[in-house]
Structures are given as C-alpha cells and as structure tokens.
C-alpha cells in the first residue's frame, strides 16, 4: 500500500510513518510532503493508495488540498488529520472529498484502526 503523508509538521509526519510501518508499509511505500504544494505534485507523481493530509498547513488549507486533488481526478481514499474538530469543519472536509477525518491528538491504535477500516471499506461507501 503506497501512502502519501502531507503535513507541514515533521513531528506528525514521523509519528504517522511509524504507525504505517507498524501496519506493514515499507519505507519505500511511504512518501511525505512538507507542504500542500509539494503534496499536490507528489499525488500526481507517486499515485498513492492513501493520502493522509493535515487539516491546516502554512501554504494551504487541508480542505482546499482535498478539493484540489479530487478536482484533478484522484479517487483513492483521503484521510484528513486535523486539530480542529468542529462539526462544520468535518462536514467541509467530507464535502470536499475526504474519506475520513481523524482528530489530533490521536493514539497510534486509533489511527491504525481508522486506516485499516478505511482501506477495507468498499470504494463507493461514503463516510457519512
């Protein structure tokens, strides 16, 4: 499973890498991007099976990122990981095309479970 992590925090990227490694992803299968712009480029070049995207980055809002790559035709699952968890925020993310929404802080177990659930979910089944 190829995973792209888009987050401007190296701490979060490192944590997510560790969790993905525990799920069986090799280091070659995990690519990360430190900005929204870099993430947009890597979505095209890497063609990941799953994208983990931060809800707030310095150069781009997570919702805008999701909307952009969905607009570019990306159909694989996207999980938004955000420290903002208001109802409207979640709705905006899902409406933009996010497949799941995880609130920071998260435990490794929680994120692992959500990724497993998401990747095992039938493709057309919506989150809500």
């Amino acid at each position: 499973m190829k995973v792209l992590i888009v987050d401007d925090s190296s701490t979060t990227r490192e944590m997510e890498r560790g969790i993905l490694a525990q799920l069986g992803c090799s280091q070659d299968e995990i690519l990360d991007a430190a900005s929204g712009e870099e993430g947009l480029n890597k979505v095209t070049s890497f063609d990941p099976d799953l994208v983990l995207v931060d809800g707030k980055m310095r150069d781009m809002d997570g919702v805008a990122f999701v909307r952009t790559i969905r607009g570019n035709g990306f159909t694989k699952p996207i999980m938004m990981v955000s420290s903002e968890c208001e109802r409207q925020r979640v709705l905006d993310a899902v409406q933009a095309g996010a497949s799941d929404f995880v609130v920071k802080p998260f435990t490794p177990d929680l994120l692992s479970q959500r990724i497993e659930d998401l990747m095992g979910r039938p493709e057309q089944q919506p989150l809500i």
Binding site: S9, V63, E84, Q88, P105
Partner: protein, 288 residues
C-alpha cells in the same frame, strides 16, 4: 501578602511620581530552566498598607504613596533568597513526585482577591476548558498525566521559557493561546514523542513539536468554547525572549502545569464574543 516575612511595612515614602497601583503590585515568576520549578511569588502592598502609609505621611489626596526603590530592591532580594532556598529544597526531590512538589514548592495558593483576572468573568470561562484540553492532549499524545496548578495573572516581562508556541484565534474567540516550555521540558516531551533522546542540533524538531502541541491545545479549546465561528492561525514558535503574546488590554492568564517531563505553562489571552467578529482571518478556517 503571599510571602510572609519578606515585606516590611515601614519603608514607605511619599512621592508625586509614584502611583500606588503601579508601585504596589510586585510579582515575579521564577522558573528553573531545568526541571519544573515554576512558581509565583506575589508581593502586594495591600490597600490597608497604602492607607496606613498615607496616614503616616499625614497627607491626603495630593501625595501618592510609593515604594522606595532601594527598599523595593532589598525586598526583592529577600524574596529571591526565599525562593532560592525553596528551589534548593525541591531540587532534591524526584521530578515525578507531583504531590510532594505541590506541597513544598507552591508558595502561593493563588492570586489575591484584588487580582484583576479574578474579576474577569470572560477570562474565567477559559480556565476549565483549557485545563481539560491540556489534560486530554497529554493523556492521548503521551499517555502522561498533567497537573494544572492555580492560574495566575501574567505581568509584562515575566517570562522564563525557552520556547513559546502560540496560536492566534479570531472570530467568536479572539486572542492568543500559548504554551511556554523550558528547554529541558521541551527536550523530554519531544524525545518521548519521537521515541528517542534528542540531540543538541535538533532545535527545529523542538520548535515543530511545540507548534503541534499548541495547535492541538487551540483546536481543542475552540471546539469546546465555540463550536462555530472561530478560526485559528498556524502556530508560531519563538524563543522565550521574543514572545508574541498579543495584548489589547485584556488580562492574560497563566496556567502552570507539571508533568513527568517537567514544568511548562499555558497562557491564554482571549476574549469570547457572543457573535463572530467581522474581519476574522481568512484562509485559515474551514475553507468551504
């Protein structure tokens, strides 16, 4: 008078230059850069003292009662001496022994009844939610309990944190929330997060993790206090000397915290509005 025996009451003088409020409140924060030793010492020239001094001068109305600069210095030295002794005592204790720390170090149970933040109903609204958020973030992220002490009022220039991460809020909540970390605490926290001890050259990792922490605190606080209508900026992390707490006249609360990794504090300088304010920052919110 929070620190008994420090403040003598017979060295007041009259001066037209001093205002009682300006000279009467004296507080300072002494925070050990190593382990948690944050503590407030409040010295207050109470209204009673001011009145007594005013009576002693025999002048009413025109003259203001101030604190002789020399006497103030002497008293500050005495207070520092007491604090130094307290720190020496505490340095022999285990850092994780929170109860012991609380009993021996916490010299001040809280601000005086005249504390402006006690009078601020708005500020009070933030204390409980932020306390809950701090405990939640540390529990989930690090599986670590945090003890949040009695809040105090920050004074301009009072600071002994090596790293300060802050997030600006706008909309239904306006203001700043910040986490202030001594370097030793930051290193232990980030080391735990990353699963290895940090090297000397990993300051960027410290700043990054500090920013993440304060973003989680800000996100949790605004979701508890304002389900809609508040936007937050990305975190800014600076050295303690360059702290960027906005101050538009509202009181700034300091929540001193203690965890196994050491001491830190969370500062809140926020105001809760009934309706979101016009002109909230753009581009950092929902984006929808």
């Amino acid at each position: 008078m929070a620190v008994s025996g420090v403040w003598e009451r017979d060295h007041f003088w009259t001066s037209r230059q001093f205002h009682p409020r300006r000279a009467g409140w004296l507080g300072f924060l002494l925070m050990d850069a190593g382990r948690w030793r944050g503590q407030w010492v409040w010295g207050a020239m109470s209204g009673t003292e001011s009145s007594r001094a005013r009576r002693r001068t025999g002048k009413a109305g025109g003259n203001r009662v101030g604190l002789c600069a020399l006497c103030a210095l002497q008293r500050m030295r005495a207070a520092l001496s007491i604090l130094h002794e307290a720190l020496a005592r505490v340095s022999t204790e285990a850092a994780s022994d929170c109860e012991s720390w609380r009993e021996t170090v916490w010299l001040v149970s809280g601000p005086s009844p005249d504390d402006p933040c006690r009078k601020s109903a708005v500020s009070q609204q933030f204390i409980q939610p932020v306390t809950e958020v701090i405990e939640h973030v540390f529990d989930v992220l690090l599986a670590m309990p945090v003890e949040v002490g009695a809040r105090t009022l920050a004074l301009a220039g009072d600071r002994d944190a090596d790293l300060v991460g802050s997030v600006v809020l706008s909309g239904a909540i306006t203001g700043v929330i910040a986490i202030c970390l001594p370097m030793s605490t930051a290193r232990r926290l980030v080391g735990l997060l990353k699963g290895h001890e940090l090297g000397e050259d990993e300051e960027e990792a410290l700043r990054d993790a500090t920013g993440e922490l304060v973003e989680m605190l800000a996100g949790g606080m605004k979701s508890r206090l304002s389900p809609t209508g508040t936007k937050m900026s990305c975190a800014e992390v600076v050295g303690g000397g360059d702290r960027i707490i906005q101050d538009d006249g509202q009181s700034r609360l300091v929540l001193p915290c203690m965890c196994e990794c050491g001491a830190f504090s969370v500062e809140i300088s926020c105001r809760l509005h009934a309706e979101p304010r016009a002109g909230a920052m753009s581009g950092s919110g929902s984006g929808a």
